[in-house]
């Protein structure tokens, strides 16, 4: 029990400075909509199976940093959860918080650890694109495989 308490404390402590860092990264990129804005409008555009550049970039960045654990197309693996399902229950803020701070679930039954991506440029700078791509997958607006870009 004391161990678990200590772990929670450590995560909370870790989370604080990283949130600040992430905010800065988003602003520096210039393209990041605020969380509120993301909630009201769809964070992706899909027309006739083709996607906007942001969503496409999200697909690519997903392949770079997320696929190794979460499997192809955000569909989950034997190692990490199905993100098309996770995003049905997780809003943008919770998504960003998890990606930036990481998550630990280590006990007698589980050894699940998601690293913190708060200082990984390839992720932090494109958080909204990755979210848009996964949200499109989660909403069923986008199928599996490599999406085509609008105008291609």
């Amino acid at each position: 029990m004391p161990k678990r308490l200590a772990l929670t404390a450590a995560i909370t402590l870790m989370a604080l400075p990283l949130c600040v860092a992430a905010g800065a990264a988003g602003a520096a990129d210039g393209s990041a909509p605020t969380a509120a804005k993301a909630a009201e409008a769809k964070p992706y555009k899909v027309e006739g199976g083709k996607v906007d550049p942001g969503t496409y970039n999200g697909y690519r960045r997903y392949g770079e940093s997320c696929m190794r654990c979460h499997g192809p197309d955000g569909a989950g693996s034997s190692y990490a959860p199905d993100l098309t399902d996770s995003l049905k229950h997780m809003d943008y803020d919770a998504f960003a918080e998890t990606v930036i701070n990481g998550r630990k679930n280590v006990n007698t039954a589980n050894n699940n650890v998601m690293p913190s991506f708060g200082t990984t440029e390839d992720v932090a700078n494109y958080l909204d694109d990755i979210y848009g791509y996964l949200k499109a997958r989660s909403d069923g607006a986008l199928g599996r495989g490599r999406p085509q870009r609008i105008g291609d």
């Binding site: 697909y59 690519r60 997903y62 392949g63 770079e64 940093s65 696929m67 190794r68 654990c69 499997g71 192809p72 197309d73 569909a75 989950g76 693996s77 034997s78 190692y79 990490a80 199905d82 990481g102 630990k104 280590v106 039954a109 589980n110 050894n111 699940n112 650890v113 998601m114 690293p115 200082t119 990984t120 440029e121 390839d122 199928g143 599996r144 495989g145 490599r146 999406p147 085509q148």
Partner: protein, 599 residues
């Protein structure tokens, strides 16, 4: 203290022995002898030649249909279980993925646990491991069990008690250095590789002294000659001296420092030639445009002197990799006839889809043929230069960054990954678990940050055009370079094979079946569905006069990541229904050892 005295004593004996004769040390003699005893299985591959062959023959093609599970053991860990158990005397040693528990089970007492060792590791290493927290097993030597931990610590345990004898750091997980491969004990040393090709590590093989864990030699895959332990005049490639700076001259600037060439596969050893053999992995990043040059010696077969580490010969299979075709798969040493001439051969089924037969004394290339007809990225290997003839359409470097190169076969996981093949001296054939998967591959620019993924490509995977099965189990003739027979499998075969003198070959499937086939024809003779998908390697041993077959199940690894939810289609052929077969509908997580015997 007592322990230390004991170690010191045995070391003194060792020194005395080596002074008395120029024979290999005691530890090696003992282990070599033990590996020839068919009742035991004292190293991960069964023997130094990586043949995975058991001379036991109680179980035959005639009676294997009577096989049944006789006891099982839950490892208590859910992640992907690669490798297999060791059987040393009356004790079985079973390992697990992270947290890398080791159990010693008493075979005289129905598998009662004699001791359990669980290292304390920082769980932050988990996400630094590419593709699941697998571990390919422990090694035995000189009364010790050697464990490669995920966090890159190598630990030696007293095989009798499980007490820690020494522990050394073989790398730094903060730089992306982790361990998944199995150690190998050779003479008075233990050879240990490193993982982290997706994190820009500088790959290397390190020999630690078995007595105390001090470093005997360390040989990098990429870098200056004194780091890669090359003699510019004496180290050869296809018979010619490599010359000075053979690695450095193939990299731009100091890119070699994060150049990869990880060594996470299997190591073989030839006691007569005193050479060890292993392969190096992909150059970092996966984006070939970012690292011009041949990127030597990534994707290379190394033959090194076991005592000094100095390279005798090298052969780079995939210069300037553009597809992530790691060269780490096992080297199988077999004395076979190649086109009529007896050869001390090395046979290697590479990720790139070519099977290479080489002269293991000289490094001469004898045969290089495709072992899956789907392979399309190269037309053939030029036997003079040893270089593959790359097809421009499938060259991700030629097509460039931000361009999607379509329909490359095999996919990045290779026509075969680490799952080791087996050889039978009776049939003279190799039995190979394979993947039958293609990919689209798009490289893009990435920046290097220590401890962060350094991949630089995204890909989607699917079965070859017009097909729906994702794997084959094949019999291979290494002399003619031809498939003798091939069995289709629904999913990639990600389990190491076993050959036996009973004429039966064994392997596991991702759905969880242990299968027995006739080695001559491939005919399936027996199957049993274990509790989870099998990515472990099949083992045989004898105890109390009875032959047993043992295998770890526990789905995971890259296979579990790539296929749990089924493969995606390529951008055009999204309708390929077969590709959507979800592994998750067949099996779930859970590490269990299942032991089989005849009634």
């Amino acid at each position: 203290m007592n322990q230390r005295k004991k170690v010191l004593l045995s070391w003194t004996a060792l020194v005395a022995a080596s002074l008395l004769s120029s024979q290999p040390s005691l530890a090696n003699d003992e282990l070599s002898k033990m590996s020839k005893d068919p009742k035991q299985w004292v190293m991960q591959s069964g023997d130094y030649a990586n043949q995975r062959y058991s001379p036991l023959k109680q179980i035959t093609t005639a009676n294997v249909k009577e096989l049944r599970p006789v006891w099982t053991f839950s490892t208590g860990v859910l992640r992907g279980h690669e490798g297999g158990p060791l059987i040393v005397g009356d004790v079985m040693y079973v390992h697990t993925p992270f947290p890398n528990v080791v159990y010693a089970l008493d075979l005289n007492n129905q598998g009662r646990i004699l001791w359990k060792y669980e290292p304390k590791q920082d769980p932050s290493v988990i996400p630094v491991m590419c593709c699941d927290t697998v571990n390919r097993g422990v090694a035995y030597g000189d009364g010790k069990i050697i464990l490669n931990q995920a966090d890159a610590n190598v630990v030696a345990l007293d095989a009798k008690t499980g007490k820690e004898l020494w522990k050394v750091a073989n790398g730094d997980p903060k730089k992306g250095e982790t361990m998944t491969g199995a150690p190998v004990v050779v003479k008075d040393k233990v050879l240990v590789g490193i993982s982290g090709g997706e994190f820009g590590v500088q790959g290397r093989m390190t020999a630690y002294n078995l007595k105390d864990g001090s470093v005997a030699w360390k040989a990098y895959s990429v870098g200056p000659d004194d780091q890669i332990l090359f003699d510019p005049q004496k180290t050869t490639s296809l018979g010619k001296p490599v010359g000075a700076n053979s690695s450095l001259s193939t990299w731009q600037g100091d890119q070699w420092k994060t150049g990869g060439g990880a060594t996470w596969g299997w190591t073989a050893y030839d006691p007569q030639l005193n050479l060890i053999y292993y392969g190096s992995g992909n150059p970092s990043t996966w984006n070939p445009k970012q690292r011009p040059g041949d990127n030597k010696w990534s994707m290379t077969i190394f033959a090194r002197d076991a005592d000094t580490g100095i390279a005798k010969w090298v052969y780079q299979m995939t210069p300037h990799d553009e597809w992530d075709y790691d060269g780490v798969n096992e080297m199988i040493l077999a004395d076979i006839k190649v086109k009529g001439t007896p050869v001390k051969a090395l046979v290697h089924f590479d990720r790139n889809g070519f099977a290479y037969t080489m002269n293991r004394e000289t490094g001469e290339l004898l045969v290089a043929e495709k072992y899956d007809p789907a392979v399309n990225w190269a037309t053939h290997v030029d036997m003079k230069t040893g270089r593959p003839e790359v097809v421009a359409q499938y060259s991700t470097d030629h097509n460039g960054e931000d361009h999607n190169t379509k329909g490359v076969c095999p996919a990045a996981l290779g026509s075969k990954d680490q799952q080791p093949a087996a050889y039978s001296p009776e049939t003279g054939l190799f039995y190979v678990p394979t993947n039958h998967v293609c990919m689209d591959y798009e490289p893009f620019k990435v920046s290097y940050t220590a401890g962060q993924p350094y991949v630089g490509a995204t890909l989607s995977m699917f079965p070859p055009k017009g097909e729906t099965h994702l794997g084959n189990f094949i019999a291979w003739d290494a002399s003619s370079g031809k498939i003798v027979w091939s069995n289709k499998e629904t999913f990639s075969v990600w389990s190491g094979a076993l050959t036996t003198a009973g004429g039966v070959a064994f392997y596991g499937t991702l759905e969880g079946y242990l299968k027995a086939v006739d080695m001559k024809t491939g005919k399936e003779l027996y199957k049993f569905k274990t509790p989870s998908g099998i990515i472990g390697n099949v083992t045989s041993y004898e105890h109390g006069g009875k032959q047993y077959i043992a295998v770890l199940s526990g789905v995971g690894g890259w296979a579990g990541i790539g296929m749990a939810a089924g493969l995606g289609g390529d951008s055009e052929g999204l309708g390929a229904v077969g590709a959507y077969k979800q592994l998750a509908n067949y099996t779930q997580l859970g590490g269990v050892l299942t032991v089989f015997a005849l009634p």
